[in-house]
């Protein structure tokens, strides 16, 4: 049955409150089972051998000694993973990323894998595998990789989107262009033009739980995979394709997930675990080390960006251009620079704008999504440059943003016309926020920046089953990355009109529910929330039919209010109301089990906008920037469970803070990652931070019955720009390279001081 997804402005009883999450007790007592916490009879330990070279031909892999070792049950190389992808280039590259095929493309690229009776034996077996490499020239920097003399990674890669079509292969995958109006005409109208170039380094999602799985393939072609993933259904289809299994015979169960942030949307070691299990004919548990997670999963792109913004003295932006160069690692993946083109100017209504994106391959691990992927870097460049424009024309930077802010009816950089959106409200809330009045001392500065993320919907499927005692099982297929089971339970309780405590929400495995798209794009609460509403409404229709039977009245005369069926009309005034519990109890005699289902492509995800305020103190002796105050203002559409909405806003902001100030992949001249651990890749700790203040705005998404927008990603977008602006405000120095780590700040301060001296000497 088709349902209307329009926002109705209904009043809420349950939604908007702060209920305790159902998985809380398991998670505080150590009982919750994550990727590495499952075991199977006879399981083996799987380990992966990885390339120490950034780029090398694999001349020979000698596994004979390892295979003969007692306790070693399987050794695999790419020969055990024949290419079954049938001409699907993307899938073939996924296969090659999982296991090198004749050539190691980056430091950490898998070359072979073993399964043995215990970890010690498996480690010894890895050491016994002899790989003969012939090193090739490598390139890890995006600008270097685009140069004509750069080593070419793939002889088949010819840049798409350029005219004429290139005759020679290069590392540039594609050129994308979008925008509207005439930027050059816009610049001609401008009183002030600011041009600046920026770089951002590669960062990792940094989920605390490494990738882990337990794979079991039996000789009859059936298989099970227990795995920490954001997308069990996607993992199922990808693994089935790569291994030649029937989709229906591979059951994937998503464990509790110890953080993902986009990094657990792609397969890495899972196909290897399945291949090992198939070869050994025993279950195989494979858990990545932190070193492997950094070297061989999917960090975000490092970038190089040019911005040009022209404005009139009154603050009107007349023209703007962006040139974005994003490296996506060693393989062709998502068009990351294209996403950047779509997001860079999205907060503003700029009549004449153009964004050009270049997607590039380098000898680094294949890039994966990282929370609002591609947007934070573009926003860093745009938001920093906007503050410089404001300074040039002598305008308050928040007022400059408000003057040009995108409103309903404005055109997004990628074409569509905005519906109701929240960025103007967010900036107005920033202006009014007490944070803006907090006193700043010498060496301290304040910065404001905006951020945008699309959010998505997608294929979604839920089951809602009512037990004879009137309690409800709700099975969803999006995974719970941060309290979603509580939100889904609240939505079901709201619709059915029963107590939150009477709903039990489970994340279903792939054999128990229809396909659900991966939990990404901030779609979990939006999509599964929508499907839960519709499934509950279907169940209510069944409940009404049963009530009609019990009361012996036509079903058209039954209404459902606050968890009860009621016959409407004077002639029924003597009939009792029937509660959900009463109807459920009688269900065996009125037609059997009562359930609601919904399968939907959840369209109409509402766009997410945020504005952040940060106060920073810069120690000019050490270059260290300390966050003094931080405020996040974000439009949630409707906050189902405000605690977990705030949690998303705070967590995203702090990931952005880490990126802005400290986190980066450091590659040596040899093309090897020099800091693959949490000691040297330092994410923010509690003592680095103040409390992160939040303000949730609720501008309803017209395309969701409750007005929900995705909230997970948007708030990682503004921090880099906001912090760069705060540092500039504190020191007078504009940072153009993130992270704005102590060494970069010191160098920038030194350079500024040197320039001042030159000026005074001259």
């Amino acid at each position: 049955m088709a349902h209307d997804n329009s926002y109705t402005g209904q009043k809420f009883e349950v939604v908007g409150n702060r209920f305790l999450r159902p998985d809380g007790v398991d998670k505080v007592t150590g009982r919750a089972r994550y990727g590495a916490d499952a075991n199977a009879p006879g399981q083996l330990v799987g380990l992966v051998l990885r390339s120490p070279h950034a780029h090398a031909i694999i001349k020979k892999i000698d596994t004979s000694r390892a295979e003969k070792m007692p306790g070693v049950k399987a050794v695999i190389t790419s020969e055990d993973l024949p290419d079954l992808t049938g001409g699907d280039a993307g899938m073939a590259q996924t296969l090659e990323n999982c296991m090198a095929r004749g050539r190691a493309m980056y430091d950490g690229h898998a070359v072979a894998a073993v399964a043995a009776v215990d970890r010690q034996t498996a480690k010894k077996a890895l050491q016994a595998i002899k790989v003969t490499y012939k090193k090739l020239p490598h390139v890890t920097d995006v600008d270097e990789a685009m140069k004509p003399n750069a080593p070419v990674l793939h002889p088949w890669l010819f840049t798409a989107g350029v005219d004429p079509k290139p005759e020679k292969p290069s590392n540039v995958i594609s050129r994308t262009q979008m925008g509207h109006g005439d930027p050059e005409a816009g610049f001609a109208e401008a009183d002030v033009i600011v041009e600046k170039s920026y770089k951002t380094e590669q960062t990792h999602q940094g989920y605390i739980e490494p990738h882990a799985c337990l794979a079991s393939v039996t000789p009859d072609g059936q298989a099970e995979l227990w795995v920490t993933t954001q997308g069990p259904f996607t993992y199922r289809s990808v693994c089935a394709t790569l291994l030649g299994l029937d989709i229906a015979k591979l059951k994937v169960t998503s464990s509790e997930i110890g953080g993902g942030f986009g990094g657990k949307t792609h397969v890495w070691v899972e196909p290897l675990a399945l291949a090992l299990s198939r070869k050994a004919n025993r279950p195989v548990k494979l858990v990545m080390t932190r070193d492997e997670v950094f070297r061989a999963t999917g960090p975000t792109a490092s970038t190089s960006i040019d911005v040009k913004i022209g404005a009139k003295k009154n603050g009107t932006i007349t023209g703007a251009t962006l040139e974005l160069r994003y490296q996506g690692g060693a393989f062709v993946g998502m068009p990351w620079a294209q996403l950047a083109c779509m997001t860079g100017f999205a907060c503003y209504d700029i009549k004449n704008q153009r964004s050009v994106g270049w997607d590039v391959v380098v000898n680094r691990p294949k890039v994966a999504a990282y929370r609002a992927p591609s947007a934070p870097m573009a926003a860093y460049a745009v938001e920093s440059t906007l503050d410089m424009v404001a300074e040039e024309i002598g305008m308050d930077p928040v007022n400059l943003r408000l003057k040009n802010v995108a409103k309903e009816g404005a055109q997004a950089p990628y074409g569509p016309i905005y519906g109701p959106i929240g960025i103007e409200a967010a900036l107005k809330a920033v202006k009014k926020h007490p944070h803006m009045k907090a006193k700043l001392k010498k060496g301290q500065g304040r910065g404001v920046a905006c951020g945008f993320w699309f959010n998505i919907g997608g294929q979604t499927c839920v089951d809602l089953n009512i037990g004879t005692d009137g309690t409800v099982n709700l099975a969803v297929g999006t995974v719970d990355v941060g309290g979603a089971r509580a939100s889904m339970g609240m939505i079901a309780a709201e619709e059915l009109g029963i107590s939150y405590d009477d709903i039990k929400v489970v994340v279903a495995d792939t054999a128990s529910l229809g396909h659900n798209d991966t939990t990404e794009g901030s779609r979990g609460t939006f999509s599964s929330g929508m499907a839960t509403i519709f499934a509950a409404r279907d169940a209510i229709n069944v409940l009404k039919e049963r009530a009609a039977k019990m009361l012996d009245v036509p079903v058209e005369d039954i209404a459902w209010e606050k968890g009860e069926a009621k016959a409407v009309g004077k002639r029924y005034s003597n009939l009792p109301k029937l509660s959900l519990k009463e109807i459920a109890r009688k269900s065996p005699n009125t037609g059997g089990p009562i359930a609601g289902h919904n399968e939907v492509v959840a369209d109409g995800a509402g766009m997410g906008f945020a504005a952040h305020i940060v106060d920073v103190e810069v120690d000019e002796e050490t270059g260290l920037s300390k966050i003094l105050r931080y405020t996040v203002v974000q439009d949630a559409g409707k906050a189902i469970h405000p605690d977990y909405v705030e949690g998303q806003m705070q967590g995203a902001a702090v990931q952005g803070i880490g990126w802005a100030l400290n986190e980066e992949y450091v590659y040596g001249k040899d093309g090897r990652l020099e800091n693959p651990g949490f000691l040297d890749y330092r994410i923010p700790v509690a003592s680095d931070l103040p409390f992160i203040d939040t303000k949730i705005l609720e501008i309803p998404n017209p395309n969701h019955p409750y007005g929900i927008r995705g909230v997970g990603e948007t708030s990682i977008v503004p921090p880099l720009g906001a912090i760069g602006n705060a540092i500039a405000n504190a020191t007078g120095v504009r940072m153009t390279h993130a992270p704005m780590s102590p060494v970069r700040v010191l160098d920038a301060l030194d350079e500024a001081a040197g320039m001042d001296q030159k000026v005074s000497a001259g």
Partner: protein
């Protein structure tokens, strides 16, 4: 496991015996031999605190201690925090304050926060932030964790006074 050593230890008050190789870390012994998978591995190098346990009351990363070193000592893990079916106040406050999102770091935070409050029942915000600086959380930005610890400390002080 030719070099295995028999270890007799006490874990969360119960006597436990296991045989482990001399190069095995306590983290693996607890997870794989004692079955306490509440002790999490986030890094294996002592940087993330997800495997925080106590040995004779001292807070350590179980990935930096050998399994054989537990012999004759008393180990405390997250599994031992709730007593007689009652959650420890820290556990309760973590749930109430939404101080966990994915929850993978939670066991380590709880063990570390308990070690702090055992020593210092009235820590300042800064003392909490620095005491927990060895525990990484990537989801929460620490805000709600700090608030949960502050609130638990307050409740524990009240119940002590009674």
């Amino acid at each position: 496991m030719s070099d295995a050593v028999l270890v007799t230890t006490k874990v969360n008050g119960d006597v436990v015996e296991y045989a482990c190789p001399t190069d095995e870390v306590l983290l693996d012994s607890l997870r794989d031999r004692v079955g306490l998978t509440g002790v999490k591995e986030g890094c294996g190098t002592g940087d993330c605190g997800a495997c925080s346990v106590t040995i004779d009351g001292q807070l350590v990363c179980a990935c930096l201690v050998l399994g054989v070193e537990a012999d004759g000592r008393e180990i405390g893990t997250v599994e031992g925090m709730a007593e007689e079916g009652e959650l420890h106040p820290l556990q309760q406050k973590f749930i109430e304050h939404a101080a966990l999102q994915c929850g993978i770091c939670t066991p380590g935070f709880l063990v570390a926060a308990k070690a702090l409050l055992d020593k210092n029942p009235k820590p300042s915000e800064n003392e909490i932030r620095y005491a927990l600086a060895g525990n990484l959380c990537r989801c929460t930005g620490y805000d709600k964790i700090i608030r949960a610890v502050q609130d638990a400390a307050k409740d524990m002080r009240k119940s002590r006074k009674r």
